[in-house]
Symmetry: D2
Subunit: 300 residues, 4 copies
Amino acid sequence: MGIVLGDNQYGKAEVRLVHVDRTTPQHVITDFNVTSQLRGDFTAAHVAGDNSAVLTTDTQKNTVYAFAREYGAAEPEDFAIRLGKHFVKSLPQISGARIAIDQHSWDRIMVGGAAGQAHDHAFVKSGAERRTTVVTLEGDQIWVVSGIDDLVVLKTTGSEFRGFPRDSYTTLAETSERILATSVTARWRYRAEVVYSQVYPAVRALLLETFATTHSLALQQTLYAMGSTVLEAFDDIAEIRMSMPNKHHYLADLSPFGLDNPNQVFIAGDRPYGLIEAQITRDDDATGPGLAWASVPGFV
Amino acid sequence: MGIVLGDNQYGKAEVRLVHVDRTTPQHVITDFNVTSQLRGDFTAAHVAGDNSAVLTTDTQKNTVYAFAREYGAAEPEDFAIRLGKHFVKSLPQISGARIAIDQHSWDRIMVGGAAGQAHDHAFVKSGAERRTTVVTLEGDQIWVVSGIDDLVVLKTTGSEFRGFPRDSYTTLAETSERILATSVTARWRYRAEVVYSQVYPAVRALLLETFATTHSLALQQTLYAMGSTVLEAFDDIAEIRMSMPNKHHYLADLSPFGLDNPNQVFIAGDRPYGLIEAQITRDDDATGPGLAWASVPGFV
Amino acid sequence: MGIVLGDNQYGKAEVRLVHVDRTTPQHVITDFNVTSQLRGDFTAAHVAGDNSAVLTTDTQKNTVYAFAREYGAAEPEDFAIRLGKHFVKSLPQISGARIAIDQHSWDRIMVGGAAGQAHDHAFVKSGAERRTTVVTLEGDQIWVVSGIDDLVVLKTTGSEFRGFPRDSYTTLAETSERILATSVTARWRYRAEVVYSQVYPAVRALLLETFATTHSLALQQTLYAMGSTVLEAFDDIAEIRMSMPNKHHYLADLSPFGLDNPNQVFIAGDRPYGLIEAQITRDDDATGPGLAWASVPGFV
Amino acid sequence: MGIVLGDNQYGKAEVRLVHVDRTTPQHVITDFNVTSQLRGDFTAAHVAGDNSAVLTTDTQKNTVYAFAREYGAAEPEDFAIRLGKHFVKSLPQISGARIAIDQHSWDRIMVGGAAGQAHDHAFVKSGAERRTTVVTLEGDQIWVVSGIDDLVVLKTTGSEFRGFPRDSYTTLAETSERILATSVTARWRYRAEVVYSQVYPAVRALLLETFATTHSLALQQTLYAMGSTVLEAFDDIAEIRMSMPNKHHYLADLSPFGLDNPNQVFIAGDRPYGLIEAQITRDDDATGPGLAWASVPGFV
């Protein structure tokens, strides 16, 4: 009857890598935030301070930069898989790895006015949204989860919220017209290898279009519509998990000032916010998620 | 062969509650950030926009404030349990709940100079650290996880890092003298009811003292020492999980200026940082964690 | 010989206003963060707690929302001027006002695929950058400062840094090839009324194009080129002030791993960063800035 | 009639310095965030990219670390003055400097239980508040401004807000009982040299005690009481400037649930917030502020 070490992992978080591909005059920039974590038998380090099996986090960081030079940095999924495979085979005590990458995107600056063109080597940062991946490896197995963070969307009509139950603490009025706004975090698990550079923008576009064109009866319904559309369109995606805060916009009560407010003036709230989270999956997902989500931060 | 809804939960996040107990002239202030999420059969809401089983997030928020008046707000664990029980029995479709509370702490302002005393109703905010709890309920079962976030500690000596393996990407030098700094996030699961108001400060003090007095050979070893000390001291705690970034302090190289640097001048780094995460548990934990950690954000 | 009240101002900060113009099916959304502050003779409030001349900050907030209904919310400069004029004439003790607005921008979601079109009422948030204005009023005088915050840009070539002096603390190598990255904060003061909706995008485009096309010998020179181009193009702008952090991208030293690094792999740094700030003005600015910059936060 | 460079400054921002004094077994830790900016004739750099007078920001950073070794790092004011003097005399084109330091504080960890003692070399980070200084130099002149940031305080009674004027946009009710909460930013200018290590904690204690013991009729009145008390107590302080957001705590309306709320349950708001800013000075301040506040960020 004793105290024992359970699951554990360690690594280097937020290695900020910017890679410039200069093979043509039109430079290509890749902006990654890489976190690597290793799993295996690290009992000696924890219990006795014996570091003989600890591939240092500094070495992990060095490897990120060296690999960017040796192999380039194109798609985050490919970079993460390569990095993870390297770490898993580096020392016998290391059995698994988790590589997470957030990618910041940059747009080319337009020059030359209205009939202008994209500049070859000057960029302006795109929105706050980030493309993400979490790749989990255990022995020979690899799970790839891709996603998007902080995709902030809003619609000014086409959103209702009615028909909910009322108890003694309910004061909310039903509405057939409200602003619907959210910041989409979505992560989807692949069940086959894909060309990641093609799937990502297609999923992003589908999420946006479904949000825009779905008449919303509840944020839950909008979420499900967005996720299920992705599964319908991409057979290689086994499941998708989404977390969507309901960023409330309250209709301002202007009646004390003798004014009506026909859905024109809103107070954007900070806290609290609704929080809707769900997995959308397939009923024939025989293989199952394995360790894909074992250390994906946060939702559901 | 179709697309189906998997796990899901919804609720109101970050309900900011400040409660003042005025029963004596010495007021007591409680400052909570409450997030409630409900689980159950919400397929109709997701698939059809049918909200008839959706206890609204606005109602959840109202309930937080009303319960604070009806029952007070003393220990976050007790408040979360009461709230969760209420939600679980509120509608037949609701089978479970997850209530997370972050507590901000306040110190009384000292007045009257050196021989002064604590003021009755004026407070100054304590450090950035927060006391936390995540209570998970499913039917009649309840799991209580308590914790602390952002407890930032540093020691200026008594920390080594040596004996690690070297591969072709290793450049780090061994050191027998370094600054060790981290921001402790710890969460522990109870296997029995305790007097939460007594256990929390005792665990916090133990974490701090163990950090201070352990000669560190690795941050992993420090983490394990901190966690296992807690389990040794509190039989009612079944396990503890910790996430500790290694907040690197780099010895400044002053040799270009003809200066030595006998561990006096350091560069505090932001990113990247090491990240060490582990569970410390008991080998006789027959019951197991159940759903305690099902939606605890983040680590391991 | 006594203690006296000096300059002072008070108001309501960060009133979050979202306005929807529904006059056509193609809705127009305006997203403002409004801060109003009033100036005048508020000695009684400070010294004696006499609030008889204090137009409450709550009333200021209400006025923001009411004005959005009464007059719409198109250009932030126009909204701020109208609001400021109202406050200045509201009470005899109020002699001046400062109205600051940060505007968040939203893009229409594209639907219908490659040959798609912009959606009428669904939006995705643009980048982190914000359009800003600070309008200062004193009696009948009005000063308008407009600007942009957090316009993050980067170029992968066309940037040198050489010819600087060396002292005993200098270790930096000269370079004729580096990444240049910054987050532009610019504020410009008008000396005539303009159509703000036209000038803002034109200034933004000019700042971007000048950054892209200027071969940089120093961030100072790039800043000056950007600012002076704006003054050359817009006679109605009297001066421009800019604050540009040098967001360092360090070339990774891969030589320990037997690798060269021909400007391909960079470490994006957080802190410290260079910080370059300057005013660019006209030598015939007879009128001068007056109170335009009296309470503009921060730079130079 | 042309475009010209106006005021400008450049430097290195947020140099993170941690200094450990090991002269006794009881180590002393100093944690600074240093920003240096230089002023002078830098027209050539801006207009022509001629860097021959530009003491690089990298050199400024190096100097911070080297000076910490050469001279130690005790009081931020002394460190800033020494650094500024060095830069001003380093090159003929440099005429002035602005050195800003934010200091993070650390408490010793208590070990040994209730009758315990402070540990010699292990620390826990104190609250979010920071001690600050901005030292401005121009030629032989030096101005020292010291301060505190983010000192968050709250009182649960002893705060009213009544007697304010009402216009057609006023809805706020008068109250003789409310929570008063704010985050104090204060900066004070010295008119004589002092022992900074003694004055800072004394001013901090005075601000706290005055907040606690002043019956508040308005946040303006509380601010003035706090500031004037500091001037009364310290003849060497010429003036103090304060910025205090009114962090609103709204009494929750529980009447829909059949509950009263005798000032017990509050909603802590985020945005908007009141913002009260004022200077408190002396009517015999013959010398005046000079350049002391020329580039102090932000308020009034």
